[in-house]
Symmetry: C2
Subunit: 245 residues, 2 copies
């Protein structure tokens, strides 16, 4: 396909938008399946008979959609996506819910600290502000792909040593069990969506402009005492949530 593709000027539809639509269609049609990449910008520019910058605008739009991901020096990769489903219920656990969808799930402890509770953390954990809490920074992966980046807080007195337990097991549920907490309940989950920030892009291997779904969740024990408050940031193009009532 050497000749210039049929895109039209002065129609009220911007060239970059027409080109983006055509490239998306080609991707969906499987034209680039051999390489998994879009042709170089210079090649596309020549094929469409436009300036390279116009092609870049088109690819930028597709990047925002999550259809492609540009890598400097390498090329523009086509993103394949299968979404993991996270069921949210009283029994919500990270690894359990998606256990049947992937081969391997892991929780990696990035950082662990003991600190005084902020006003927000204290409110959710029903502690006095400044009480000692344990903070986890964890990365959730499924099949070697990062899926979520979470910050969790636990009451410090009750769960001293939970860091070790988590390192050993790679699971909050199992760590709780080692600490004598046999069961817990998801009391509240809040979900919103934002544009990925620099930290998300690094931790979750996202492209700039990607979407992060942010959840704030509270877990309580069977007598209603808060045991974990966490803020998680998910790679939006790799997950969805379901609530079954």
């Amino acid at each position: 396909m050497g000749g210039p593709k049929e895109i039209q000027r002065q129609t009220g539809v911007a060239l970059w938008r027409q080109i983006a639509d055509r490239i998306r269609a080609s991707i969906n049609h499987g034209d680039f399946d051999a390489t998994g990449m879009v042709p170089p910008e210079t090649v596309l520019a020549q094929q469409f008979g436009v300036n390279r910058h116009t092609v870049r605008s088109a690819l930028a739009a597709l990047g925002q959609e999550g259809v492609v991901r540009a890598v400097q020096g390498r090329g523009t990769l086509i993103e394949r996506k299968e979404r993991l489903n996270f069921p949210i219920s009283k029994r919500t656990r990270f690894s359990q819910g998606i256990g049947d969808q992937v081969r391997e799930t892991r929780g990696l402890l990035l950082a662990l600290a003991e600190e005084p509770a902020s006003a927000e953390v204290a409110r959710w954990l029903k502690l006095s502000e400044g009480t000692g809490v344990i903070r986890f920074e964890t990365l959730g992966t499924a099949d070697q792909r990062p899926v979520s980046r979470a910050t969790s807080w636990f009451p410090g007195d009750r769960f001293a040593g939970i860091g070790e337990a988590y390192r050993k097991t790679g699971s909050i549920t199992k760590a709780f069990r080692e600490m004598g907490l046999l069961d817990y309940i998801r009391a509240m989950t809040e979900i919103s969506a934002v544009h990925a920030e620099a930290g998300d892009i690094a931790d979750l291997e996202l492209s700039p402009g990607a979407i992060a779904m942010v959840t704030r969740a509270l877990n309580i024990d069977l007598s209603g005492v808060p045991v974990q408050y966490s803020i998680s940031r998910f790679a939006a193009d790799r997950v969805q949530f379901t609530i079954e009532n």
Copy 2:
């Protein structure tokens, strides 16, 4: 603040990124509260000592974040955002949940049609594929701002005439009541986030690159019979969802 602002070249951080960060900071600092708008691109370009296109890259990034919204011929408006909270539970209803957060909520019926059920709709409503269903296209607004754009399907035989009832009342709950269905339950809700498509941008008054949260939900009556399946698209920067267990 007349002179050129301090942005640095050759630091490994792109000029447009530095400028975006500075403009965001100025907005948060309230520097532009008088007009509610960012200064014109040409002015910013001069202030920062860069080309207008570099400023445009910065503003485009802020547009993606939802911080600003450019309007051709007018200027670049600063977006104020207060997020509406949508509780999701067995008793989930659009207007009820957010009733205490806004002064006025409305549901507007954009389109109404009777059609044969697609495979997907039939599966959720537990009908045979091709059975007659009623399709609603509705726009949800809160305080004159569009919040959600929903497509809903109802079993055609049971709810013939529901369009009229909805037009009169502006509420699904009340329309159901007029049809003799006094109560219903939210059985399932699925939440994901995507980049807004052209339709979202038009209906929800979003900027290109904004985020849409997509929910798929099923309502059933008290004996478990499906009464409504709907796919809704929310302006992500105006909403959040909470699940209370």
